[in-house]
């Protein structure tokens, strides 16, 4: 794999039959482009309508979170994780807390684990809804976006009631969660789950069967399992090639091992497979939520026994969990202080994006947005 930020020279050809001279062209997409959902630049070289080379340029949203974290104590880092993948901040909150808790060997009360799991699964649905809506918008359909955001709004309202913020939650703490569920909240989530279950078929009615949509996605952006492994892809990007790998099942964390759910897998490896997988994942998340809400403990602590100053012992640790976009991991090297010596995030969007130049090569320019969208990146996470 070759990493390049500057495109190679443009080539010129003269047609032997007609004598007409044609030239490749550079097209700059972004950094401010609606289909990139953030600030992401793509320099594509096109020959007519065929992409011959694509060079992604990232870093416009780089804030140096990992370096900043070295100067912050562990509790202070949690709000920074909200701003990595801001579409799914609950999973980011969790992975950092989980890493520190693993290092310190902390016990998490059962009720806190349930609240965390419910928050994470709701966030997964919200994240997939954002993806669904904006992806369809990229493809050229306006109304699915409105339906998706209408339903996502309900989840955000639930989060707002739970922790007082709609996107940057800062909800989890090392050892538990900040807030208990407010009175009646669990029932509201139950209602939402039932509502969403009814809503899903209409999503399929609206979009999935649409012939134009199918033609635009089938067989586009295809890759096989080996390529996915070589690029270290994860999440739906990996499962669309037939590899059944979901950390919630394969390396259970939190309390995922108590619930019954499937890991949807496809073998086609194209955009359509990724689309269907994400839709199926919403269904599975609803299944997990249903069970979790049924078993939700009626009382209990929401914070474990945590020392006043959080100082993980000397050493290092790496934990990973299944975020909506793939595996998110945190590596912490501690020297026994209240601040990490080094902290590294393995961000699924960043890893998944690496395959883009290969997927775009030889594609028609009209498919560019369909392929980029199907990777499901969040630039806050790509650039960290």
């Amino acid at each position: 794999m070759q990493m390049r930020t500057e495109p190679t020279a443009l080539s010129t050809t003269i047609s032997p039959d007609t004598g007409i001279r044609t030239e490749e062209m550079l097209l700059n997409v972004g950094p401010q482009h609606p289909s990139t959902h953030g600030v992401f630049r793509l320099i594509v070289k096109i020959d007519g309508e065929t992409i011959t080379e694509a060079n992604p340029v990232i870093g416009y949203l780089h804030r140096g979170t990992e370096k900043l974290a070295e100067d912050l104590n562990y509790t202070q880092i949690i709000p920074y994780t909200d701003r990595l993948d801001y579409v799914s901040a609950m999973t980011n909150n969790y992975v950092l807390c989980h890493a520190v808790e693993t290092m310190m060997g902390l016990e998490i009360p059962e009720r806190a684990e349930f609240l965390r799991l419910i928050a994470m699964e709701l966030n997964r649905i919200a994240s997939h809804l954002v993806w669904w809506g904006t992806y369809l918008l990229d493809i050229g359909a306006m109304s699915p976006f409105l339906y998706a955001f209408r339903d996502r709004e309900m989840i955000l309202d639930l989060f707002n009631e739970l922790c007082g913020a709609r996107m940057t939650f800062n909800y989890m703490r090392i050892g538990g969660v900040k807030w208990d569920a407010p009175p009646g909240w669990i029932d509201k989530v139950k209602e939402f789950v039932q509502y969403m279950k009814k809503q899903l078929p209409s999503y399929h009615n609206l979009v999935t069967g649409n012939e134009i949509f199918i033609n635009r996605l089938k067989g586009i952006g295809k890759f096989d399992a080996q390529t996915a492994l070589d690029y270290s892809l994860s999440g739906v990007m990996l499962r669309c090639t037939g590899i059944r790998w979901d950390l919630r099942k394969d390396e259970p964390y939190c309390i995922y091992d108590r619930f019954d759910f499937d890991v949807p897998v496809a073998t086609e490896g194209d955009c359509m497979a990724r689309y269907l997988l994400r839709m199926a994942e919403i269904e599975q998340s609803l299944r997990i939520l249903e069970q979790a809400l049924e078993q939700f403990p009626s009382e209990g602590e929401i914070m474990g026994k945590v020392p006043r100053v959080i100082r993980p012992p000397v050493g290092e640790t790496f934990v990973r969990i299944e975020a909506p976009r793939g595996e998110i991991g945190v590596y912490i090297a501690s020297q026994g202080k209240d601040k990490p010596w080094r902290l590294k995030f393995r961000r699924p969007s960043f890893n998944n994006l690496q395959i883009l130049p290969e997927l775009l090569k030889g594609e028609n320019i009209a498919n560019m947005v369909a392929i980029l969208g199907s990777i499901d990146i969040v630039l806050g996470e790509v650039d960290a």
């Binding site: 880092i77 709000p79 707002n160 739970l162 007082g164 800062n170 407010p182 609206l206 999935t208 649409n210």
Partner: protein, 137 residues
């Protein structure tokens, strides 16, 4: 053509349903009790322990104390208290650590300003910002 027609049918069906949009700002948008808007500060409660300034991840709280005017009493009272709201990320940590609930959240979120200077909130502003104060902090 069938899938296409199905989708269209769904859209048509939705036409007659109740609107889900909210005519904000004509109708105020209520926020739940835990919502984080901007802080309210009560100078008489503050014991100048500095915990809020220390926990703030963006270092946007600046405070100074002065000796208690009553020489009989020990400790300090607050002299100046500023929040640089330009960089406050509303993480809720200051309100969480304050032992006396001198700094608490309010539900007020309409904070757009014409100049950056207006976003420097001083003690007086924060003290006067005493509506919709959050009960649990």
């Amino acid at each position: 053509m069938l899938g296409f027609a199905k989708g269209l049918g769904y859209t048509l069906k939705k036409l007659s349903e109740k609107k889900v949009t909210h005519s904000y700002p004509d109708v105020p948008y209520p926020m739940p009790p835990r919502f984080r808007g901007i802080q309210h500060f009560s100078p008489e409660k503050c014991i100048v322990c500095n915990q809020c300034a220390r926990i703030c991840p963006t270092q946007c709280i600046q405070l100074t104390g002065k000796p208690h005017p009553d020489p009989e009493k020990k400790g300090k009272i607050i002299d100046t208290y500023d929040i640089n709201f330009e960089i406050c990320i509303l993480c809720d940590l200051c309100t969480e650590v304050c032992p006396t609930e001198a700094i608490v959240m309010t539900n007020n979120f309409e904070l757009a300003a014409y100049s950056r200077d207006e976003l420097y909130k001083d003690l007086k502003w924060l003290d006067d910002n005493n509506t919709n104060v959050r009960e649990e902090n």
